[in-house]
Subunit: 434 residues, 2 copies
């Protein structure tokens, strides 16, 4: 007999079925023996005739259960299975009790992040944890879908590189045969090269930052959602694509992950457009409105990011805001200076509920200008020969951005720690490597 | 005026348009001045009134051209643009001549792979080279699409790992803060863990092999298309999914990349099913049919792979064949032994035109059996604590496989070297790092 997925059982009321899954929970109630069974589509209550049949059954065992699907208003979902047969498919080998109560949401919610990560193979089975990764995968699915529809080509660029894209700090070293190589901080150089080929490209892939931060917002290996597009007028074209892209990603996720969003009490942002403010005006606003004097004129600190989002939430109702025109000295060498004021760049960050989730800009596309800028930044153009090559052969005005997938998921679900949005997070802490 | 993509120009005959793209080729013929313009959708012939207008125009410059679309049977595609205006968007900075004639296919086809890779930002602009990556990205697109439709969830697992999945040889070392870590050889451990969560998972991501091979079939960083599925009866369930998956990938690619396949004179394989032969029988067949005595009873050598495919091509018409039941000693520790004969495993390779493109198997899902097998292999179970954890909590019978994306593309297009199927190949040779 063919296995029936739990979510499809309502179509089989009155019929004999086989279901397969994990023993989610065992309950003995008023002399009745319930086993809640879990598969990838949900849970169902099964009823065993005699308590002896339950002996030896433990949480997380994998079983095949045969029985009749019966309508039962008191059962969760209105149906249950009256069990005729139960066969063990996968045994368990833990001690007297399971280290994390994944089937008891209240208990699980009280667990500290440390044990949750330490027992990752188990904690990922909790339905709220599963929901995070279902949502993340659908956000990424929609990212690709939208860009493909807009004529972008998917690319896969190397993660072992000869040098950094942003100057060389915070790189992980790799022993590459007789050489030293690094893990890529970003697909920046490659995606620009590919603008010369396909005009519009995107990539979903890991990037690496050897930052010694141990914060709730940093990972040392994270998923970067990148796109880069040619033949733009300026950075506003890049922003315009992202606004439509985010609308698409959010509405797709709302459509297919309704139940998962509800588990987290999360609602996807809805907006027509996203407000913009220059960094200079943002700093001024912080001072005037909140009496907050910036330590640096070059960036917002975390508190500043929170307050700016709070302000725009109150003023416009949206939880997203672009900060534009970061100073030239604080942006990577390839960032296009603003033609009206070369002290600032055609760059932007996107803040979402007080956290930067995107960085982007128009890039310099003229070879001579880029070489000159490298020299101004104290970089040696000969160290970037391979990258510079593309600019010798004609590059259109272009720009792009990168979205941090785990940050976007974290903010969407209001997760307190970004590690919760990575299956097996890589951070500086010792528990992070397995 | 809005830019019109070249592929859409036939809808604009008689109208004034703006096109943007690269100067693909300049031709002066019988006093007429042609510039062939290229954008991401194709090329078009543009006609300049006076030869003076061409002065300063060089190959690969990026220009915006305004003019009238005119029907012209002698022009390639039957239309041309009579140019009114031409504006430079991106200048070129190479010497007197361009290092690779990307617009002259015959000349380009004669170029050696060395210079082609050295000038990668330029060579990728050649239309036959572009076609490779269009096809590869569509194969991968279809891989995801098919599996998602079958209830698989996409996952993203770390590439920085604490140990190897296959015993520890051929790993790239990474300096991970105060520790030594490695680049993942495969997502094997993680995708198995995720079977415990989503039952069916897939991943598209880079994997790393520090093999010192410098062959036409090895890359040190390659794209692995992985899936893993729970609740199988045996490895034949994994194979059955792959057969349908490959049909889908090939037919999708045929549908959307007809022109690109034609550039390479390639046809996608069509088949109802894929023949299978055990390794033992394959070795016997090689000896009986071709007088080829195997040096090793544990694997096929490259010549053996070629001959087996030749045999099945002649016998059954298909260019794909599964080799099954590899010896237990030659397969990774997690491979399920065959219950009828524990000397061999429930494993398989898929050969395509004489090259292995897939490796897969049923895996051991019982904790006690896996620990015992590790000890038999001389491995210390305590080195695999994190991985072994999942088997303590109930795992269903499961299996999976990995397809090498670049190998699949190489074989489909009959490329002589796998480096041609990687945008920026990573190999042991010195030119490979930038």
């Amino acid at each position: 007999m063919e296995r029936i997925l739990i979510a499809l059982l309502p179509d089989f009321v009155g019929k004999e079925v086989i279901v397969k899954g994990w023993v989610h929970r065992i309950r003995q109630l008023g002399g009745i023996n319930f086993v809640i069974l879990r598969d990838r589509t949900g849970t169902v209550q099964t009823v065993f005739q005699k308590s002896e049949e339950l002996s030896g059954i433990r949480n997380e065992m994998v079983v095949e259960v045969g029985g009749k699907v019966v309508s039962e208003p008191r059962a969760p979902g209105g149906i249950e299975i009256h069990v005729n047969s139960c066969r063990l498919l996968g045994d368990v080998y833990y001690g007297t009790s399971i280290p994390l109560e994944i089937s008891n949401q209240r208990a699980f919610d009280r667990a500290e992040l440390g044990p949750v990560l330490e027992h990752r193979p188990l904690s990922l089975r909790n339905s709220k944890v599963q929901a995070i990764f279902k949502i993340e995968s659908e956000l990424i699915w929609a990212f690709r879908q939208f860009l493909k529809q807009r004529g972008f080509t998917e690319i896969f660029t190397p993660k072992i590189v000869a040098s950094g894209t942003e100057g060389g700090a915070e790189l992980f070293k790799v022993e590459y045969f007789e050489k030293t190589a690094y893990l890529a901080q970003s697909p920046q150089f490659y995606k620009q090269i590919m603008v010369g080929v396909f005009e519009r490209v995107f990539e979903v892939g890991h990037v690496y930052r050897a930052e010694k931060h141990d914060t709730s917002r940093h990972l040392n290996e994270y998923l970067s959602l990148d796109y880069e597009m040619g033949f733009i007028d300026d950075e506003q074209d890049v922003i315009a694509v992202e606004i439509e892209l985010l609308k698409y990603m959010f509405s797709h996720t709302k459509k297919v992950c309704g139940a998962e969003l509800e588990l987290w009490g999360a609602e996807v942002p809805e907006f027509d457009t996203i407000p913009q403010i220059t960094l200079k005006n943002a700093l001024q606003l912080l001072e005037e409105k909140y009496g907050k004097r910036a330590k640096s004129k070059a960036d917002l600190d975390p508190e500043g990011e929170m307050l700016i989002c709070k302000y725009f939430k109150e003023e416009t109702g949206t939880e997203l805001v672009y900060i534009t025109h970061y100073p030239t000295s604080k942006r990577p060498v390839y960032t296009m200076p603003d033609d009206k004021n070369p002290e600032v760049t055609r760059s932007f960050d996107l803040l979402f509920k007080g956290l930067e989730v995107t960085t982007g800009s128009q890039r310099i596309h003229d070879y001579a200008m880029l070489v000159k800028n490298m020299e101004k930044f104290g970089l040696k153009p000969e160290d970037f020969d391979f990258y510079l090559q593309v600019f010798k052969y004609g590059m259109p005005p272009h720009g792009g951005l990168a979205i941090g997938a785990e940050r976007l998921t974290k903010q969407l679900l209001d997760l307190p720690n970004i590690r919760m949005a990575a299956l097996f997070p890589r951070d500086i802490a010792s528990h992070s490597l397995p």
